[in-house]
């Protein structure tokens, strides 16, 4: 059981690290002759990965997955409201 839980945590950690590197690579693609350029697809990608990582951390590391319903609701509402607001302001 213990090994299984730790295996899950380790898997989460590996996924988090992997998507972090992906988002870093994504950021690097939005350049032109060594200068950063605006790129909506890259931004959306970065924000989506950010939301995904936040949710992974909250669900698994902070143990929201097994927490009471109000906490699960609150964190998910926060995730959607916050990242949604960021994206909306960016697109506006």
């Amino acid at each position: 059981m213990k090994a299984l839980i730790n295996a899950r945590l380790t898997l989460v950690w590996l996924v988090l690290c992997a998507v972090t590197i992906v988002s870093w690579w994504l950021g690097g693609t939005a350049e032109h002759h060594g200068h950063f350029v605006f790129s909506t697809p890259v931004t959306i990608g970065v924000l989506a990965i950010g939301l995904f990582k936040c949710r992974l951390i909250m669900q698994n590391f902070m143990e929201v997955r097994t927490a009471p319903r109000w906490l699960r609701l609150f964190t998910d509402i926060w995730l959607v409201a916050f990242w949604g607001a960021v994206l909306a302001i960016y697109l506006y």
């Binding site: 972090t20 870093w24 994504l26 950063f36 951390i57 698994n60 902070m62 009471p68 409201a81 506006y92």
Partner: protein
Amino acid sequence: MTATERTMSPPHDRDTMSPTDEEANSGIRLPGEGSMWVFVLGDMIIFGAYFVIFMIERTSESAVFLQSQQHLNQTIGLINTLVMLTSSWFVARAVRACRAGDYQGATRLTVCGFLCGVVFILIKIYEWSVEIGHGYTLASNDFFMFYFMLTGVHLLHVVLGLIILGIVFRELRRPTLRRASMVESGATYWHMVDMLWIVIFALVYLLR
């Protein structure tokens, strides 16, 4: 611990170590103290407001922000994110070890998490000194104002987190002080610090 003993003990017995006690009842439980969740959720709202204000300011000067972003070292940001994630991983495992009664393992993992936090601070200081060495300070432009203020207030949270992890370490070492709720609360806080850094990494370093 038998059922009668449990009913006889005072209502705040959650302070003390009760491994597998709650998990046996049902899968649903709030890890750590409720008051810590007030802090963490409130902090998420407060930081959320900081980030939203950052985004609003960014739209009015997006070219300046984009150019200034280029002067940040993205790779250092990446390394710091990985350090922070690793630290969180250690601390999450420490909670599990503690719950399973493996206090030595929990202590060791907490120390690893703590050391990662220290590494994070050292890298951050190095990053700042490079930026300041290139002439970019708080007053340079609005982007660097946000960069230094957001990373600075986050660093303050890291320092507070290290103090909390220090308290957790002290409690884990002494059997009379051990409280599962304290270990869980400290971990909850530390994961929030990790999560806030992920948001900063996305918004300040990577957004295009």
